[in-house]
Amino acid sequence: MSKNEPINLKQDRRQWLKASATVLGASLLPLPAVAAEASQAEAPPATPQSKPAGGKTAAPFFTPAQYALVEELSETIIPADSHSGGAKAAKVADYIEQELRESTDDSRKSTWHEGLRLVDLMSQHYHGKSFVDSSSEDRIAVLTVLSDNDHMTDLPEVRFFRELKHLTVRGYYTSKIGIHNELEYKGNRLLLEFVGCDDPAPKSS
């Protein structure tokens, strides 16, 4: 707009209405690729990734044995089923590893180290096997004890379970598998027109 030129808003509005109608089709960009599950479905690395985003090498938070245990715990929280992959395929353990490695909260870190130890003790006590070596029924039984008592006590293993569930949920539903395969999320794309309700009088019950 040139200097001091008054703006004719009505005129402008008509013009851009017309203009936007003509460019509409041409401007519609291709929709972003949605499904990219193939690479995600591969097995996770045997040792957790130890390079943070900054490029500095940081010591892994979990030992390989702890990492394996976190993988099985997260998979028990959100398992693979006929609809989509579970927490293991979505590499939730990598997400948890990074969260804890970077955390500045020492009590949170000790909740995890202590919790992993206590869950394995529970598994030994109930089934005579480590959690990783247990059947999925036995794994579910251990976590059910914690889940069913998660509002009754503040024992470290219960606090750990709440943290485990929180980070597993967070990591899973922000992963490619969680968003695209499991939830089949339809948004985050360019739309020509807004989507709405086609049935003007839906019954709610």
Binding site: N4, K165, R170, N188, C197
Partner: protein, 585 residues
Amino acid sequence: MAESEIDLNKTYDAVVVGSGAAGGMAAHVLTSRGLQVLMLEAGKKLPIEQELRSMEWPYNNPHRGELPPDRHALTFNEYTIRNPPYGPGFEKSKHLHSYIGSSDYVKNIVVDERENPFTGTNYAWVRARCLGGKTNIWGRLALRLSDYDFKAKSRDGFGEDWPISYSDLAPYYDKVDLYLGITGVKENLPHLPDSIFQRPTRLNCAEVTLKQSLQKMGRVLTQYRAGVTTDGLKHNKYRSRCWGRGACERKGGCDIHAAFDSPTGLIYPAADTGNLTLRTNAVVREVTVDPQTGKASGVHFIDSQTMKDYTVRGKVVIVAASTLESTRLLLLSKSRLYPNGLANSSGHVGHNFCEHVMGPGVTGQVKNLVGKPPTLDDGRPGGFYLTRFRNLTEKHPKFIRGYGFEGGSGARMFPQGTDAHGFGASFKEEVRQNQGSYIGMGAFGEVLARYENYVDLDPVVKDKLGIPALRFHYKFGDNEHRMAEDMKETAQEMFEAAGFKITHVSNRVLTEGWSIHELGTARMGNDPKTSVLNQFQQSHDVKNLFVVDGSAFVNASCQNPTWTIMALCWRSCDYLADEFGKGNL
């Protein structure tokens, strides 16, 4: 945009303090009227598209969209249990932010609480120090006020009427609509006047169900009226039309600028006139005064990066630093002539502080949507707005004024329902089956503008630059608490009437400040003894001083304020330019 260097030897026609909705609008109107304008912004100019990254998938973000581990955003519990200044006790975090700063996309937009302390009563004060201020991340609900608000005292006897009527402001609301773009649907409501709307969004099925049920109660649910251009703006090359991408719900902003923000909507076009000089990192700490004339002579500012002091002259000074920062600046601008601070002969600067009370709300489930194939529900700037229904034709026995609800329903990128009990296959299945079936809404109610709710300067505490901090004396009163009770009850009644299964009721009133709608601390009025500004946001005391942001509001109404801030500012700056041309300032 063309930028020019600040000229400290020049006397600018107008110095504008702040670059948000009000400062941007002042720059737009005055530069288009030919005035030479200097705009000073306390924060920096961010590479905003790189900050917002509206279409970034969470799995492509280093922390899935959440804050890096060295930062913390205050939570409701922390605001409630701790007292200002918020900072001590959070030493584990290198940076501490207000609650809105809890996402990777806003972390550089909001201030660090430790560098910008305040004291007094609990308050969730959200400040964005960067070009454009809070317009970079605003919620975009763009509503008009009506004479139910401007003449509220005449209706119920409380407070003051505004010195203007709806008819004075309506033409300027039209100008704002056309210049910036707004989406919505006409409803012909006397208490919520229509705008000149562009292409509307659409309600989804749960929302239509609620709308139809409300019609039987005589209540109106309408599409979210968003300050978003859905058709595009031919006169603005910096903004795209809305493409319904749907990241609008996350804490962040719109990186294609379909949602209004001050830089692309107002400041860049103003700069293109050649009449605007923009200086960022300029923290104004005083409006200077000519002791001979008693008029404002310019401002004194500190460069936040070099800590150097500067003064710059202006024929007119326009304060638009956001309600509470503008108030702080007036109070800081003490002189022999104005010992109580500038524009404060009435003693009302800082008082009559008002906003919106939030918290009560409800979440429900629509049974026949459980298990339906996933639908696209969030590809739009907002869901719905349920308009005010209290104290319009009938008088509520327990409180005056009113409230509205903002809400929405359907599937989101991160699903609702993950707080359900349990784990395993059934948990996973439940989250998937339920994801599109939720509907929720929360209320925004008018907080009465009361003299005893105020801010002043803390005598001891100073910010990082050594500028006295603001001290809050502000609490919700009985009217707000009684209104909040009613919000909670009506929310449940309306969901039950619509046949929704209620899954969660929010009872708690959120911390003061949560609405980010602080208003009223330099109110307009016809009487210089009880008001700070006249109907053109011009100081009664200092006629070349204007305060054009939300501080000028006489009451808060229950409608979100941004559109009214801009309409008022346009009207005032039109007047300013007229008077400037006549040599009256």
